[in-house]
Amino acid sequence: MGDKSLKLQISIPPVEGIEDIPIAAIEVLAGKMGFAPDKTQDIVQALTEACVNAIMYTNNDADVEIVVYATHDALMLEVRDKGAGFNPEDVPAPDFELMQQVGGGSGGFGLHMIKALVDKLEIDSSPAGTTIRMCKYLQPAVSQA
């Protein structure tokens, strides 16, 4: 296959729990690519957060699309929904001081978690929908040189 990337595209209806199916497939892919177990878990967790948000905030029956691009040194994942969109800048960074006083109810941790688990994160959002684009490198230091 050489340097050609492999593309997988999976559509799921916005049904809670169904995201487990494509995530299980991508977990297998990450393992085959050579990601260590802890990095594979990062991918699984980030993808879970993105899919759960997409399903929760889709206000219609439109499918959520998961698109995967696998190359020899990276896994790129897109989660696309047709929800109402949001402004990522309106999501505050977690306030850990406040959290220790009032608990985790304030939210915003999902996006923070995704950002911490992947090597690159991009968000495109509009009233037509949202695409969360995540990238995890097999060898982060080398790939970003």
Binding site: E16, G17, I18, I55, F96, Q100, G103, G105, H112, L117
Partner: protein, 116 residues
């Protein structure tokens, strides 16, 4: 958003008390769907100011940030009442729990000295 009962995440919680300590073994997903059941099971022990509440994560198959947020809420409440929440057997979820700051409000022995 549509719901389908046969695909929804499930969580089973078994409780074991031993003196001042109560252990909740979690089996299944700690997710948006199961958070209400999780809260409703553990909350009474926090309300009764139980000194030590242990959440055993060995059987957990999935976590999402909202589920962890519920555990954080309970840890903060327990702490305010002089009690404590401890998370055990967090395993592969350690990094995600650390990122959410669970170790700041609950005892998580596996995260002591953890390097993210």
């Amino acid at each position: 958003m549509t719901h389908s009962s046969f695909l929804q995440d499930e969580l089973k919680i078994t409780e074991h008390s031993d003196g001042d300590q109560v252990t909740f073994k979690l089996n299944g997903a700690l997710s948006v769907t199961t958070v209400p059941y999780f809260r409703q099971t553990v909350q009474p022990f926090i309300d009764r100011k139980h000194p030590t509440i242990i959440l055993d994560f060995e059987g957990v198959t999935k976590i999402v940030s909202r589920g962890v947020g519920a555990a954080i809420d309970m840890a903060v409440q327990a702490k305010k009442q002089g009690g404590k929440l401890r998370l055990e057997n967090v395993g592969k979820y350690g990094r995600s729990l650390y990122i959410q700051g669970v170790h700041l409000v609950a005892d998580v022995p596996e995260l002591e000295g953890f390097e993210p």
